[in-house]
């Protein structure tokens, strides 16, 4: 048996939680909100392409970017590797664990069978930390699980080598170098600048604030993509799940981001960021209103244009508030370069 002593803590989001836990294991004291904020994790996108059966939206940056951007802005170096051959991937992972190195891996969430079956869906971008193995089972620190979990080798391997979009391909990472003196102030400023870019400056009509407004405009058209009333109810419930339950920390990552801003105000000794963190918390409360309204409509099965417009109107208010917020944040950053 080999289980590495590892402080397991639950986190709001699998990627920022995994990165924070690994760095803390290696002696770098950093919180999950700080990892998320430095990496400019806050985002919005509304997507519907001809090949998609149903529209979707995202409230965070692309999977993998939390780690890459955090590394680029702090100087932390991660060793990363993808594999074609599952046997080689398994062998190298086992060797690392046996040497005492906890390793983060990308998996299809569906195969993480320590969660109840009804909760598991196919998502290829879940991150967990492997902290030990014994016989045919692995010990897993999963940010969404209250305790260290166990998984059988076969399910774990299936999860690491599930195909499809964003296939994990056995991807793994772990930190190999952490600078002694990280310039946290610069990293935070870069993170804030990246966030204003995400939300205001990407010239595509479905990204950032423009994406929230597009979502608001398009939601009344959702019934035409639905195969049945149950299907539509499920999709509208998913608004609530994506904003509250699916690893966001609540309010579509806005509560997590508010936490980052509060920490950032102390590091940068900028009291205006403390005020803005409270404002972001209020914005998160607004996203929670969107969640609650969506759950109510889905439960009542009233998909009339008027009811869906209620969600659209709430989204427009969020767009206005976030536009004002990120413009002021942008100005604040320009004043303190």
């Amino acid at each position: 048996m080999s289980q590495i002593p590892f402080r397991h803590i639950m986190a709001a989001h699998c990627e920022s939680g995994t990165v924070a836990a690994l760095l803390n294991h290696h002696g770098m004291k950093i919180s999950e909100p700080m990892v998320f904020g430095i990496a400019s994790g806050i985002f919005f996108a509304y997507l519907k392409t001809p090949g998609m059966e149903f529209p979707m939206f995202a409230v965070r940056s692309m999977p993998g970017q939390v780690r890459t951007r955090f590394a680029a802005r702090t100087g932390v170096k991660f060793r990363t590797k993808k594999y074609r051959n599952p046997e080689k991937a398994e062998k190298e992972l086992n060797e690392l664990i046996d040497k005492g190195q906890p390793v983060a891996v990308q998996v299809d969430f569906f195969y993480m069978n320590y969660f109840p079956a009804w909760y598991r869906i196919h998502v290829n971008v879940h991150f967990v930390t492997v902290i030990g193995r014994e016989g045919d089972k692995y010990f897993i620190s999963d940010s969404y699980h209250p305790r260290i979990a166990e998984i059988d080798r076969e399910s774990f391997l299936k999860g690491r080598f599930a195909g499809g979009s964003m296939a994990p391909k056995g991807f793994m990472f772990y930190p190999v170098s952490i600078p002694e003196n990280v310039d946290l102030q610069k990293a935070i400023k870069d993170g804030l600048t990246g966030a204003t870019k995400n939300m205001l400056k990407i010239p595509l009509p479905f990204i950032g604030i423009k994406g929230i407004r597009r979502f608001a405009d398009k939601i009344t058209g959702w019934p035409r993509y639905a195969k049945s009333e149950d299907y539509l109810a499920d999709k509208i419930f998913r608004i609530t799940i994506f904003l509250e339950d699916q690893g966001t920390g609540g309010g579509g990552f806005r509560f997590l981001y508010a936490s980052f801003l509060q920490e950032a105000s102390k590091v940068l000794q900028n009291p205006r960021l403390e005020d803005m963190s409270r404002e972001m918390m209020a914005i998160g409360d607004g996203w929670r209103e969107v969640s609650l309204a969506s759950a109510k409509i889905a439960k009542q099965r009233d998909f009339s244009k008027a009811r869906l417009m209620e969600i659209g109107d709430l989204l427009r208010v969020r767009a206005d508030m976030e536009e004002s917020f990120f413009k002021r944040l942008d100005k604040e950053l320009s004043n303190h370069k």
Binding site: D245, S259, K299
Partner: protein, 170 residues
């Protein structure tokens, strides 16, 4: 959001949310999942309705078993194509009853592996008594049942599954 306002009583599905604590600082709070705590019965009702509708269509030969299991697993044609390595236009064909009849066994095995079922289940529906106490478990997954399980285990033959009825007297 204040810490007290965010709490949901749902011990079987815990999440971390960030909230304002009594001292004015923001930080993580472990609580129950909002969806699981408030709407889980609705979730099961939707899943039940979808499943019953698909079974009815499967019985009438209106959909193919590939379409049936693909939908139950929450996959679509392009995702199933990516996971099986079978071109999307072929997967689309195989999701129709006519296309299904022409599938080779080796192709069917690829679908079965991705859809987490034995090949045999492409040709049969296994029913249990409808009291929710019986589960169908593939590869020995029988722990959650109260009364019993129809257990399906892999054998040395990749196309053969061993199906057992196990009564649980716990």
């Amino acid at each position: 959001m204040k810490e007290k306002e965010i709490e949901v009583d749902c011990p079987y599905q815990q999440v971390i949310l960030y909230a304002e604590k009594d001292d004015g600082t923001f930080g993580p709070v472990q609580t129950g999942s909002y969806m699981a705590g408030n709407h889980i019965s609705e979730h099961f009702r939707i899943a039940d309705n979808v499943s019953k509708d698909l079974i009815a269509k499967l019985r009438k030969g209106q959909i193919s078993p590939v379409y049936f299991y693909m939908t139950l697993e929450g996959l679509n044609i392009s995702e199933l194509a990516g996971r099986t390595g079978i071109p999307a236009f072929r997967v689309k064909r195989h999701t129709t009853p006519a296309g299904f009849r022409k599938i080779r066994i080796s192709t069917l095995k690829r679908y079965a592996d991705v859809l987490n079922i034995p090949v045999a289940n492409m040709f049969q529906l296994i029913n249990t008594v409808e009291d929710r106490n019986w589960d169908i478990g593939y590869q020995g997954d029988i722990d959650s049942s109260k009364t019993g399980t129809i257990s399906q285990s892999v054998t040395g033959n990749p196309l053969l599954v061993e199906t057992k009825v196990i009564t649980n007297h716990k």
